[in-house]
Symmetry: C2
Amino acid sequence: MTIITQARSLQENLKKNHKNSSVGFVPTMGALHAGHKSLIELSKKENEITVVSIFINPTQFLAGEDFDKYPQKFESDKKICELCKVDYLFYPQIDTIYTKDEVLIKAPSYKGFILEGENRPGHFDGMLQIVLKLFNIVHPTNAYFGKKDAQQLILIKQMVKNLFLDINIVECDIIREANGLALSSRNSYLSSIEYTQALAISRSLERAAKAIANGQRDALAIQALIKDILTEAEISNIEYIQVVNRDFEPLTTIELKNTILLIAVKIGTTRLIDNFWL
Amino acid sequence: MTIITQARSLQENLKKNHKNSSVGFVPTMGALHAGHKSLIELSKKENEITVVSIFINPTQFLAGEDFDKYPQKFESDKKICELCKVDYLFYPQIDTIYTKDEVLIKAPSYKGFILEGENRPGHFDGMLQIVLKLFNIVHPTNAYFGKKDAQQLILIKQMVKNLFLDINIVECDIIREANGLALSSRNSYLSSIEYTQALAISRSLERAAKAIANGQRDALAIQALIKDILTEAEISNIEYIQVVNRDFEPLTTIELKNTILLIAVKIGTTRLIDNFWL
């Protein structure tokens, strides 16, 4: 595995040595867990070359968010990448990626500013900015993103389309603990009491999925069902429970194969999201 | 010459048939004149394949500007491209390029919102948006832009750097009539009286250049000299006369090899810009 910190060096390496190879790309903020590992493994299976980036991107954090305390685990991340036989690990410093007064990316005004975008205004602008930069550095054939960040995934797919990027975005299933909790680097913030509370999130989605399988099609009823289970677990800070289609338009009636159930809550000071794709 | 209207078709053509060729790209809004022709000829000389695009980009026009009356001359443009032996002419419709509620590009907050950006707020956002889309469709080795749109050129170079685009931006000299007038598709709006007035613009830059050659280094004096000549020609609607460096920072003292003199005026309803690079 080659570790590269300079953008130009990675670009030149890929251009010189792998011009005709398929390149799989897994952009991450580090603190790798089994969710990331599943993306890397899929990339390894589907491409000749796999590039993983680790970069905690400052522009997607809002003032007061957890940028400063976001978990940094480079040594164990490196080991995971080595074990997964990653070809290139891109690990840039902030000043490699950003200069002052940049050309900026702005998320679309509807899809970018509802739900996560409403709760974290500007977050998706910064997310799209870093993803676009990384795409232009790596020029991947396939790029791998988890469905857990559902709105992020949909926005990246839209950016690829709007900007005519020649990249295939691969939607990857959410990886969960045996107890159902969706893997997230932020789970490490949870106390053991909070962790137990957090299990209600996936449990509520599971129950909702079961209700839909049993014929429930009313979005309001599904939202109420989820809310009950979260409230039972004493999760009082619910940011949203939403039922949308793949264009992130709210649904009143569940559409099979075109519905995403979305949850965002805060447990203590930790913000957690989870979702279920039909 | 192959005329292509679909983005995907151009992308596939270039990828399939010219993957290892150098590609020169000249993006235009049509109404081609000798200025465009010089860019195309340079591209022909420096690349194996030359792509010209003709697209009057709506997002770079402000409300009330001349989008609706911008000159359209496709038949003669086509002929010019054929005579120049252009390989691909990309001539898309608006709905090939844009959908609703897009991911947007925002010009940098300083360089994007002074001078042209102050007089045409949002113009550069739309300009960078279309240039980025076209770059991603064509993937040029070299892209050709005239120095006449100085701020545009500097912003495109910044975007290429900020977004890690692997494209060489070629700065091309301003092409002028024998009488000095900088070529512009908008010159066709001028009445014959206005045309004569407009000659004062290049004349003032010439005199300024001469004064600098003779040792004048005071930017205020240069601005005053230009203003006098414009005023003499009864050009009363002067938007700006500015002396900046390559980073578009205003200068009080002329720096040889790092100064651009910039003029924007309105003559009648026609907005004209011109400049001189030291």
